[in-house]
Subunit: 361 residues, 2 copies
């Protein structure tokens, strides 16, 4: 199949540091190439891929201090994609709504995966009025703010199977991983660990925008022998920390659309203790791969019940639900449905089990 | 002619306060309606027009504190415009490059007027690659950073003839009008007035982003009997201040693409002392409607030569070059050329006198 993958330009594909969307586009693109598809990746010029690469910019925009208008390269890229649409059997966009008005003018079908949070009031009318483009959510929960959009499927993110190694025996610490910010609730993680009497490692970057929050709310909580603040870590340290943790603490306070770190933990065999918001109950299976909690008390109790969870089952859940191969196979089926015209018929019926209970074998 | 006018959504059309682009779109739209055209204005929902109004938002976005994504309504509007393109003979866009990739997919020709500064590195390749959309500059100088774009004409801004009244006799003060910011050089205006020994009135708003600059660089200069800082003024006070001034001081330090205040002054009969940057030498005629200066010394000398300028000639220059009727007639000719297909042939040749010496009788 001749496939255009259209990525945001903020981070390279895959990202040098953070960047969930570009990371997933990379996993999908490389797996598509590996399985024999003819893929053109539209992404920043420093992207690394086995696909054909076309880029409107030399470097990823977020790290390019010379960039003065990040929208213009995106519009240039989308113009280029759609003006040569006939070169592709399918155009798979990951650039939010930027290409939406263009899609109806070409014969090549577009599939649009929405990667971000959607509870922004300006989005609902935009997607309601552009229903000719089939949309993919990265969790069923993500769809909630846009019930009238043209959803055709949920496709969970997937990681290459060999990216994280299964670790059968953990050390005795909990892990908070990612970013220090109010909606990630590192303060909750710290209180849960202290109340449970378990060591907590915090491996998280502090963005400039969150520096005040960190100094005011979090630093005073770090003066405790149970709490170890490591700061931002590279990929290698991240793998080791994730693999050896007894559990990942994920006490979020916002409707996370997916939460890539959850499946990174599962790939290591590490279970998750999470607040049950957004995509979390779709990714974490209660009593199987983690504990879904509503309150801090429940999270403390969950720490004491970690022994009931089997690390091998966590990895098995990853292998059967969240690999890049599974994600890619799902997208290929969606491409095929679109090419056969069937996606146009199966609109956004959320009662269609094949659409809303995806990724299960 | 069935004409779509597509305005930015940041300010209403016309703006309640500042907003050059939306102001000009309003003048053009109302004059098109007055002269019998069938105009649909795409603009914020609080716009005031005799045309048919379609809007993706109830209020102008800059003043709407509930707006969380200002791009989405623009994309929604442009999708709507182009999906019903066949309803129009011409689509006249004022929304920078946002509609650029869409224009080639419809039969209805698009004319795109660029209102902003263009010396942003990401713009050149975008406009070079989308040459099927004819572009209008608001001054010839504005084109400099984009020599490879598909320029077909310059159309100077115009004001309704009766908006400003001719004032034959001035009072004895100079005026600095608009916004306090480093590139407007209010400090130069103050030094020029002090050195020339002439009273200066400063009627200018201070945006939050320029507050530090004002306090640090400008406020210390205000403690002088010749200098009077008035602050932001409404339309009525602005008209009075402009009409009674001996001259407008316009000592800018950036390539102003047009400078609406210049023709507002001329409409009152008030000449201009300006630094000769950007569009200024196209708008102000040396020794006729003002003095074009390179240095502060030249500006001081120019104050002493204001007596050589005739206020009636300033108003006459406005009447023959910068009315809304003239601007509108020019655009109508451009629409007609586009409809006849001729604009496609006359590409961006800057040596074509009919393109680069516009608005002259």
């Amino acid at each position: 199949m001749r496939i255009a993958q259209v990525a945001p330009l903020y981070e390279r594909v895959p990202p040098a540091l953070y960047g969930g969307t570009e990371r997933v586009v990379s996993y999908l693109t490389e797996e598509l190439v590996r399985t024999g598809h003819d893929v053109t990746l539209f992404a920043s010029g420093d992207s690394i891929t086995a696909a054909r690469l076309w880029s409107p910019c030399v470097r990823a925009l977020r790290l390019d201090s010379t960039c003065r208008d990040s929208l213009a390269p995106h519009m240039r890229m989308l113009g280029f994609v759609y003006h040569q649409a006939s070169e592709f059997d399918i155009i798979h966009c990951h650039t939010d709504y930027l290409g939406l008005p263009l899609a109806r003018f070409v014969r090549t079908p577009t599939l649009l995966t929405l990667h971000g949070r959607l509870d922004i009031p300006e989005l609902a009318p935009l997607y309601a009025e552009n229903r000719e483009v089939p949309l993919v959510s990265i969790s069923n929960a993500q769809r909630a703010p846009l019930p009238d959009a043209h959803w055709v499927a949920t496709a969970y993110h997937g990681l290459p199977s060999d990216l994280y190694h299964y670790v059968p025996h953990s050390e005795d610490y909990l892990l908070f991983l990612g970013r220090i910010s109010p909606e990630k609730r590192p303060d909750t993680a710290i209180r849960v660990a202290r109340r449970a009497g378990v060591h907590l490692r915090i491996a998280a970057k502090v963005d400039p925008v969150d520096r005040d929050y960190f100094e005011r709310e979090i630093r005073p909580l770090l003066d405790d022998p149970l709490i170890e603040f490591i700061g931002e870590v590279g990929d290698h340290a991240k793998h080791t920390l994730l693999g050896n943790a007894r559990a990942l603490l994920f006490p979020i306070d916002w409707p996370e659309p997916f939460g890539l770190v959850l499946i990174e933990a599962l790939a290591c065999g590490t279970p998750v203790i999470a607040r049950s918001l957004g995509s979390v109950p779709e990714v974490v299976q209660q009593g199987e791969t983690g504990w879904l909690c509503e309150t801090e008390d429940e999270m403390v109790a969950a720490v004491h019940r970690l022994g009931e969870l089997d690390r091998a089952r966590c990895r098995a859940a990853f292998d059967t639900r969240f690999t890049a191969a599974i994600m890619t196979a799902r997208y290929v089926r969606l491409y095929q449905r679109l090419l056969a015209g069937s996606a146009q018929e199966s609109t956004s019926s959320q009662s269609d089990a094949t659409l809303t209970a995806p990724c299960e074998p």
